[in-house]
């Protein structure tokens, strides 16, 4: 589904990602972990075209997407959420999700001016879809509330709903459980499982090992911009280099 080959990213002389090779088969829950500054978000940015890689290739469903613009990547079927929540604050939750479907709409401005049947049908479909998605992530009671007035946990859920609205095949979640209570984390794990059950491949960055172990089948570990391990949670937990990266070498 998604693979990267020899991915490098440099900012000036600073190397933030080095020769990263990934291979994500469809339908698997993947987690990306690593200490702070390991290059996890950089990798996400490289995949989604926000900061294109310096060298190397990104291939998604047989499409070469290296250097593609973010909106093209989204249209091809990769959606993402951000570490710092970025919603459209002064728009209702419903409008946030409706807007998420923007790249799947076909009505042109012309259709809107003359209210053609195409535009009416699409308008209805988009609104119905949005309500469905708000229910799916469990925040339908906030349908008409400004995004900025939602409780923190619901804002994260809204961001996921908005990402799902682009109808992605692959969903990248950047620390979706950051700042959550243990109870909220359990609920989030349930949501991730539900998303995967709906046929979306999930790739997430997470620091909380309970969440990582709870939702992912395979784990990739980065440290100082390099991939140091990959495997099942069991394998990664017992990997010597991973233990060293997190806890330091034993002297």
């Amino acid at each position: 589904m998604l693979s990267t080959k020899g991915l490098n990213k440099r900012f000036g002389s600073l190397v933030v990602a080095q020769d990263i090779a990934l291979e994500l088969p469809p339908g698997v829950r993947y987690a990306l972990i690593g200490p702070n500054g390991a290059g996890k978000t950089t990798l996400f940015n490289g995949i989604t075209g926000i900061f294109p890689p310096t060298t190397g290739r990104v291939i998604f469903q047989d499409h070469e997407i290296t250097g593609a613009k973010p909106h093209q990547v989204a249209t091809l079927g990769i959606a993402r959420t951000f570490q710092n929540i970025r919603l459209f604050e002064y728009m209702s939750a419903l409008d946030n999700v409706r807007l998420g479907q923007h790249c799947r709409m076909h009505a042109k401005l012309w259709d809107s001016l003359f209210k053609t049947p195409l535009e009416r049908r699409e308008e209805r479909r988009v609104t119905d879809n949005a309500i469905e998605l708000l229910k799916f992530v469990g925040i339908e009671r906030y349908t008409h509330t400004y995004a900025r007035n939602l409780p923190y946990g619901s804002q994260r859920r809204l961001e996921i709903a908005r990402a799902l609205a682009t109808n992605p095949a692959l969903l990248l979640l950047d620390e979706p459980a950051a700042g959550f209570t243990p109870q909220e984390k359990v609920e989030l794990m349930g949501l991730v499982h539900k998303i995967v059950d709906n046929g979306v491949t999930v790739f997430l960055i997470e620091h909380d090992m309970k969440v990582v172990m709870g939702v992912s089948r395979r784990i990739v570990v980065l440290d100082h911009g390099e991939k140091i391990a990959e495997g099942t949670p069991e394998q990664v937990r017992n990997d010597q280099r991973v233990i060293e990266a997190y806890l330091g070498k034993q002297h």
Binding site: K69, H71, E89, M91, H102, C103, S112
Partner: protein, 307 residues
């Protein structure tokens, strides 16, 4: 349309009955309202602050004037062509303008406006320069002459305002309008959900320039003159003030702002011919202090509290 909106538009017909001697002013109000509406599309909905919006108004005004002087005086065709010309200018300039935000954007639009004003001033062989464009002759509109009392002028301006308002309203409520609000809220995040921000901004800027050009053409056609004032910085600044006074991002803000600003200016000028700008200034300070979101913003907050 909601009942309140229908009532509002019905009320715009009142000047014909209640104040027939003020129809020339009413026509100015309708034209300025259309101009402010065009600014609202880019400022209120897409977050593009412009201090040079008169460039498109003036371009439309001169195009309409020159068309009537050299080719034909039929107003409707002239209006459409002038609007298209302003739209083209908007499309060309949009490629530069949408790449900037904040202060750089203000300076850029300001510079562009001044540039065009100065160009019109020095090209006096074409525009008549500081003397204004002479020889503008507008033919009757669908058989109605532009009379001295401004009956035709107001009917024409009001009809165009209403028509283009409906267009703007459709645009705002379309998926495209929703995307624009998204860009205003967070331009950098829009691509992440698959929307090309810059392309959208270019499109709305072009539409806004077209509407501004239509407003400029209306002014030319209803007054049969064009002067350099249509391109002036004062006009760009006035329309910004009008929009903020009424409330940006509400479609009706520009219309309400134009009514209050121009009527107040007219009244103040007749009460106090020498210092009337003082009272206009006082009005502005009062509104901005008491109603930071404009008059409509204040009213809607009051209404919400009452609910």
């Amino acid at each position: 349309m909601r009942p309140l909106e229908i009532a509002f538009w019905a009320a715009t017909l009142l000047p014909f009955v209640v104040a027939p001697s003020y129809l020339a002013l009413a026509s100015q109000v309708a034209i300025t309202a259309l101009f402010a509406l065009s600014l609202d599309l880019i400022l209120g909905y897409a977050g593009i602050v412009s201090l040079g919006h008169a460039a498109y108004f003036g371009f439309g005004a001169y195009t309409a004037g020159l068309l009537s002087k050299h080719y034909f005086g039929e107003p409707l065709t002239g209006l459409v062509l002038a609007a298209i010309a302003a739209g083209l200018l908007g499309y060309v300039t949009s490629h530069v303008i949408v790449r900037f935000r904040h202060l750089a954007l203000i300076m850029l639009t300001l510079g562009l406006g001044l540039l065009l004003a100065e160009a019109a001033n020095s090209a006096s062989w074409l525009t008549g320069g500081a003397d204004g464009l002479q020889g503008v002759k507008i033919a009757p509109l669908l058989g109605f002459k532009f009379d001295l009392y401004g009956r035709t002028a107001y009917a024409y301006s009001l009809a165009m305002l209403f028509l283009l308002f409906l267009v703007a309203r459709r645009i705002i409520h379309s998926p495209f309008g929703l995307a624009l609000r998204g860009i205003r809220e967070n331009a950098t995040r829009m691509p992440a959900i698959g929307a090309p921000s810059l392309a959208h901004l270019r499109k709305v800027y072009t539409i806004a320039a077209t509407l501004a050009g239509a407003a400029g053409a209306l002014l030319t056609q209803t007054t049969s003159t064009v002067s350099l004032e249509v391109l002036s910085f004062a006009r760009s600044a006035d329309v910004l003030v009008i929009l903020i006074l009424g409330g940006a991002g509400r479609l009706y803000g520009g219309i309400v702002g134009a009514i209050i600003y121009l009527v107040a200016r007219d009244q103040f000028a007749s009460m106090n011919p020498q210092y009337w700008y003082f009272w206009v200034g006082l009005l502005l300070v009062a509104v901005v202090l008491l109603l930071p979101n404009g008059i409509l913003g204040g009213l809607s907050a009051l209404y919400k509290r009452a609910e």
